[in-house]
Amino acid sequence: MITNLLYSFGGLMLFSMGLFALIACSHPLRKILAINVMATGVFLILIATAYRQIGTGEIDPVPQAMVLTGIVVSVSVTALALILACRVQETSNHSLIQRKKDDFTRTGT
């Protein structure tokens, strides 16, 4: 029981950190990474809830099936987002990748 809670809260921390980074960072690559971290947290929570049943019987297959498809979908979404970010970089005038220094400061603008 305590192990599952540990996994659940680990996933929750990943989700929150990803959410914070998603809002705080303006760089598209960081945003994509943040979404991935968030997704990993959600998967971890789902798997932990499936695993919780170990004491009473078998593992719940429904969250497992959700995570299984979710991983593949998140990979494809990441790929599409990366291609879009590359296109933005190519077509816009200012470079997104080189803007390193004021990454965190552009939150409010």
């Binding site: 809670l5 659940s8 809260f9 929750l12 921390m13 989700f15 929150s16 959410l19 914070f20 809002i23 705080a24 929570i45 809830t49 919780r52 049943q53 009473t56 019987g57 078998e58 593992i59 719940d60 297959p61 429904v62 497992q64 099936a65 299984l68 498809t69 991983i71 593949v72 979908v73 990979v75 494809s76 979404v77 790929a79 599409l80 990366l82 291609i83 879009l84 590359c86 296109r87 220094k101 004021d102 965190f104 400061t105 939150t107 409010g108």
Partner: protein, 237 residues
């Protein structure tokens, strides 16, 4: 200058980021409370799955949920994968094959040894999906890995694959899945309600087609664009 910039940075980033941090922290606390207070032991869908397991045509509960009980969901997810490839293909052209490189003998030998094994293992995973852990998504991932291995070693025949064949491979899974669903609609009157006794074989058919499509999808996403000969006629880039 250095000091000024850091000072400036700190002054500009503090209030907004603090607010965001505060909101995120409170959301975390709320979600943590939800995790702690939810009762996972009495309300579980696993019981329903175990009850109707026999009707699903497969022994593995995860596969049964994936393709039978929540088949609608999986059908749409396969469509999402297809849409991702459509999006990527419409945005850019693949940088593969780039300038011709000579892969080392070790790399070629490894690719030659590993790729058939990986393809075999992928279909073994699909086959095993009816009784144990495995299935279309796992098999597709291994297949995608094999394709990526061939892509990065720039085998000479990779660039000669016509895009039409790729398109057929990419569409196989979604079309077989959708076709089966429509066939069920005609035969049984309900979308994705497999006929009695045929569920096992139909699921295997769907899984095999989907594994091929998922593997190709992942490889195409890795390649990062449409093949060179795609849309080449009547259009200049």
């Amino acid at each position: 200058m250095r000091r000024y910039s850091t000072h400036n940075k700190r002054k500009r980033l503090n209030p907004v980021l603090l607010l965001v941090l505060l909101l995120t922290a409170s959301l975390t606390i709320l979600l943590g409370r939800a995790i702690l207070t939810t009762d996972y032991q009495t309300e579980r869908l696993g019981d329903d799955v175990a009850q109707f397991q026999k009707l699903s045509g497969v022994e593995s509960p995860v596969t049964a949920v994936l393709l039978n009980f929540r088949g609608y969901d999986t059908l749409l997810e396969v469509m999402v994968l297809l849409m991702a490839v459509v999006g990527v293909w419409s945005l850019t052209q693949a940088p593969f094959p780039g300038k011709p490189i000579e892969p080392g003998p070790v790399q070629l030998a490894v690719v030659r040894l590993l790729t058939p094994l990986m393809v075999l293992f992928a279909f073994y995973l699909v086959w095993k999906g009816s009784s144990l852990a495995g299935g279309a998504f796992q098999g597709g991932a291994v297949l995608g890995g094999a394709c990526v291995l061939m892509l990065v070693s720039e085998l000479p025949w990779i660039k000669n694959i016509p895009s039409r064949h790729l398109r057929i491979g990419l569409l196989a899974g979604p079309f077989v899945f959708l076709g089966t669903a429509i066939l069920c609609l005609i035969l049984e009157g309900t979308f994705l309600a497999y006929p009695q006794g045929w569920a096992g074989s139909l699921l295997l058919l769907i899984e095999t087609a989907c594994a091929v499509s998922i593997g190709l999808t992942l490889a195409c996403l890795f390649a990062g664009g449409r093949p060179k000969d795609d849309l080449s006629r009547g259009r200049k880039r």
